[in-house]
Amino acid sequence: MTHSRTFRILRALGLLAFGAFFFVPLLALLDFSTQVPGDAPGRTWDAWTYMVTDERLRSAIVASLLLAVLTVTGMVVLLVPTMIWVRLRVPRLNRLVEFLCLLPLTIPALVIVVGITNVYSWVYYLLGGSPLTLTFAYVVLVLPYSYRAIDSALAAIDVTTLAEAARSLGAGWFTVITRIVVPNIWGGVLSAAFISVALVLGEYVFSSLLHFDTLPVAMAAIYKSYAQASMAAALASMTLVAVLLLGLTFLGRRRERKGMA
């Protein structure tokens, strides 16, 4: 398509305005996190090293990373076999599983927190009060996004034929799922894992209201005493999430190209 010169100039100006709106706050975060506390001039990376040296922040980071790993594990173990099984053996329940998985989009996380107190008092009773118990809530939180990623991967392959071929060669259902179907939907599972990690690292609703020290909660807590450190932690986790999600898009593009070839 060809456009007039005026249009291209206007488009460049428009994009510049959008770019400023989206990137100035990120640059401000970087600027703020390297300021010397008080009004002293100069730059310092003290706030960045604080992430490692401060006991509370460090253990919060560890908790958040562990939660990310556990949530991905829980999501994969719970969702992948269920979705494959439903497609292969009980297709009439496909709509029900989809409905349940997408339900958290309609029920705000805050509402689930409000109603989950009783469930969690049982969880604490059975498993103790570790921050890692948040895994259960987080698996629910990532369900819709993970479902979509895995669903589109499953839709792209002929699960039934693959499974029938394997079954006729004597494979059991466990083998069919783990060694035949899963390797073929690996890209979708990986996408689901990436987006889950991104969501868990930024999650604040559950962790703050159930009083667990995850990274976002610790950031909000130290903000009053050492703003630069919270800003540094915020930018660091933002960067990690951005790398994950951008990696996801490029992964998707590569798969798309391979699919077309």
Binding site: V90, V114, N118, V119, V205
Partner: protein
């Protein structure tokens, strides 16, 4: 394998979703109609009618509607700018990828980013003060609803780009050529062909943005320290303060109010989505 055996592998999933998603939801729905002792009452719903609850509901509706309209208009504009560069252009691909990141980028981080920008010591605040003497920080508007409008728009615009760009791209070149061949001007093509086709997608996306803002909690929780100008913050107060008698049950009623609003909006959204999918491949 018999019918029951087929269902057996689904038990873990159904049990998990039942315990951690359905039980909490039902707890809220029932708790809204119970008093502290579990007896049936309509008092909690009555509490939705008092001054603080109505003010919070109005605040939430105003905030969600404003950011939905702002996000939809600006997002559609940005989507149009990048789609006009061609479906495979680097500009379009990069903007879509970055939008995917920024739409997820809510919560605590976003609140901090805006404090660092237009807070009392913010980069832009200080620069403006230095250059023009204008005090952008003012009376601290960043920490009330006007501030939330600016901050929420930051994740609403990218979300709009993600959901609306496919509809824009779905407009086929042939339709435009057909219109031009029949003697339509560019203006007529947009007014009579493109805009009517895009309207359901646009309105649907706007509803999605509305629900997105209405349900958001973290950013506001960090940013707003005084008062409860929106429903999610009033819920926080109801469930964390022990001063309020029967506070938990009023919290349930407020949470139920949230479910009802979001569910209505999402239902309208899926209706409009179905209309769009009629002509999009």
């Amino acid at each position: 394998m018999g019918g029951a055996g087929r269902l057996l592998p689904l038990v873990p999933f159904l049990l998990f979703v039942g315990v951690f998603l359905l039980v909490p939801t039902v707890t809220v729905a029932l708790g809204a109609f119970q008093d502290a002792d579990g007896a049936f009452t309509l008092d909690n719903l009555g509490a939705l009618d008092d001054y603080a609850a109505l003010r919070a509901l109005r605040g939430s509706l105003v905030l969600s509607a404003t950011t939905a309209v702002l996000g939809a208009v600006l997002g559609a504009l940005l989507a149009w700018l990048i789609v006009s560069a061609g479906p495979d252009s680097l500009l379009k691909r990069m903007t879509m990828a970055i939008s995917g990141v920024l739409a997820q980028f809510g919560g605590v981080i976003l609140a901090f980013a805006w404090i660092a920008t237009i807070g009392i010591q913010g980069v832009v605040t200080l620069a403006l003060q230095h250059l023009t003497g204008f005090n952008l920080y003012g009376n601290g508007w960043l920490f009330s609803i006007p501030g939330l409008v600016v901050v929420y728009t930051y994740f609403q615009v990218p979300l709009m780009v993600i959901v609306f760009a496919p509809a824009l791209e779905g407009l086929r070149v042939q339709w435009r050529e057909a219109a031009v061949n029949l003697g339509a001007s560019t203006w007529q093509y947009w007014r009579l062909v493109a805009v009517p086709l895009l309207t359901p997608a646009f309105l649907g996306s706007m509803l999605l943005l509305f629900a997105n803002a209405f349900a958001a909690y973290a950013t506001a929780a960090v940013l707003v320290s005084q008062g409860q100008p929106i429903v999610p913050l009033l819920i926080r107060q109801a469930i964390t303060s022990e001063v309020l008698l029967g506070g938990a049950n009023v919290g349930f009623a407020l949470a139920l109010e949230m479910i009802v609003v979001v569910a209505l909006v999402m239902a309208a959204y899926s209706l409009l989505l179905r209309r769009t999918s009629r002509w999009m491949k």
